[in-house]
């Protein structure tokens, strides 16, 4: 493990009944970064996370967290970890605050300040209510508060906003950013691509148990075959404008709707605007839309032929 690495996974593999769920993956998460872990359902994300946590024994490979080998120092590693499972289940007869006290004691953390932790996720008024009476979203929030106990060095979140309404989703995202600003490394899986784009600096895309792409979000966008698109707002002469634009070399596609959308290379985009101005067609507005992480995700997961490291 190199200096500056917070979590490193090497050659991790796991098969269930002869079926390879995770196939020799390598991951490196640097200290202080927010790392998104993407993949379609059944790609092996949760199995990977469970192996990182020691819940599933790998067939091969190593996991190192904060410089320590999981197989040798599991306790030391787990003291430094915060984890939110995809499906949060807690003890229904304990109150929210008793639940946090239980996990704090197990982590060897003080039980003072847990009320503030609950308040930070908006659950302070429910501190003395039994978890069994909570909605799924409220259980998720208590689970998230649990993961933050003791300011962990590494936070592992499996689909952290599943089941949350928009207000609570915002609350969780803000706390993730806050924890990261305070120095916590965040490794999270999600199928909500906008969430990954908002939170993660780097992402890995997992498909059929293999990492098919790993890079900065911006760099991944650059690697995709999908091009940035120019959205032009025209109140008049849309068809005439489309005809002019289609004639420009480097323009791949022009669609006419409420906006005229031009897919082209960078040079053609400049020429398109100039051509419209020269033709006297008035432009009411324009914007460039970069390819989304969604298009990158689809490109890498629709076919394993596109696998690039």
């Amino acid at each position: 493990m190199e200096a500056g690495e917070s979590l490193s996974v090497r050659g991790l593999s796991k098969a269930f009944n002869g079926l390879r769920a995770v196939d020799g993956i390598d991951l490196t998460i640097r200290k202080g970064e927010v790392y998104g872990f993407l993949g379609p359902n059944g790609a092996g994300k949760t199995t990977t996370i469970k192996m990182i946590l020691g819940l599933v024994t790998p067939d091969a490979g190593t996991v190192r967290i904060s410089g320590r080998d999981l197989s040798r120092e599991p306790h030391e590693i787990k003291r430094r970890l915060g984890y939110l499972p995809e499906r949060v289940a807690m003890y229904p007869n304990l109150t929210a605050i008793q639940t946090l006290r239980f996990y704090a004691k197990l982590k060897g953390q003080p039980t003072e300040g847990l009320d503030e932790l609950l308040a930070s996720v908006g659950m302070n008024e429910f501190a003395d209510r039994r978890v069994g009476t909570f909605s799924k979203g409220m259980v998720q929030l208590v689970g998230f508060a649990q993961s933050l106990i003791g300011r962990p060095e590494v936070l592992i979140l499996d689909e952290p906003t599943t089941g949350l309404d928009p207000n609570w989703t915002r609350q969780v995202k803000d706390r993730i950013k806050e924890a990261n600003r305070a120095g916590t490394t965040v490794f999270f899986s999600s199928h909500i691509l906008s969430e990954v784009e908002e939170l993660a600096s780097r992402v890995a895309i997992l498909n059929r148990g293999k990492v098919v792409a790993e890079d900065l979000v911006a760099a991944l966008r650059g690697r995709t075959k999908a091009r940035p698109r120019l959205h032009l707002t025209l109140h008049f002469q849309r068809e005439e404008a489309a005809a002019i634009l289609r004639a420009i070399p480097g323009v791949e596609d022009v669609t006419v709707g409420e906006e005229v959308v031009v897919t082209s290379d960078d040079q053609a985009r400049g020429q398109a605007i100039a051509a419209l101005v020269q033709a006297g067609i008035p432009l009411a507005g324009m914007r460039t839309v970069d390819p989304s992480l969604e298009s990158v995700f689809l490109e890498y997961t629709e076919s394993t032929r596109g696998a690039v490291r």
């Binding site: 020691g54 819940l55 970890l81 007869n93 197990l106 982590k107």
Partner: protein, 293 residues
Amino acid sequence: MSETASRFGSLPDLRQVRTVAEKEFMDNLRGKWVLTLSLIFIILSLVVSYFGATQSGGAAGLQGFRATGAGIVALATTLVPLLALMLTYATVAGERESGSLQLLLTMPLTRTEVVLGKMAGLGAVMSVSIVAGLGVSGVIIAALAGTDGWDGYALLILGTLLFAMSFLAVGLFFSTLVAKRSTALGLAVFLWFFFNIIYGIILFGIAALAGVPMSFGPGTVIQFPDWWWALDFVNPGEAMGLFASRTIGFSEVGGFSFGYPGWATAGLGVLVMLIWAVVSTLLAMIRVQGQDL
């Protein structure tokens, strides 16, 4: 992963065991299990004491400790396994199915500590219920029917505690074998039937096949060979019966008298129950190591 081997080999951290035990106890206390079990023991033991004499032609009325003893044993050997199995069947399987076990095991504690903590916590739930239930009954019996034989009754409570531990451990072990709460419940029901009904039927069948002379009827003293008794005492329920018989001095249940062999002492009953409690807990500890969750 070698985590399993290294952790199983090291001594458990008692603070972690205590934290898990406290959680189990609190969870069951708030879930009204402790209160429910205590009330069951109070009500049924008083019913046994009040109506116990009517079975042998006596009048209804609260009996003293000596007359109540045999009825309490019959109550304990039937009820305690049922309650212990109901308390433990989902303790691992249910948590595994819901996902709370996975979260628990991401904490810095070993699987051995989880098993020991659960055993200690559930043991406390059963112990408090038994001591409170049979204790309150004992106080009522003492107040209304006299204190003669209280020491035997106290020993009976201790024996019942050990008996409960043996079935808690059995339930805990079987809970580690399955991944679903519903399967675990089916297994618990089967275990109760096995130890309370099927085991005896099998033993009597073996005796018949072996040509042991048996004639049943009131006042009959059934004589079985030593090997048969040895097999009989393997059942923790029979071990509890032996312990109770030797400590409070009854030798007749349901009209049948048992001529226990001389070597069958109260200590043997204690030993058998202890072995069940310890071995089943150890098996549960071994079983959970390395399980993928």
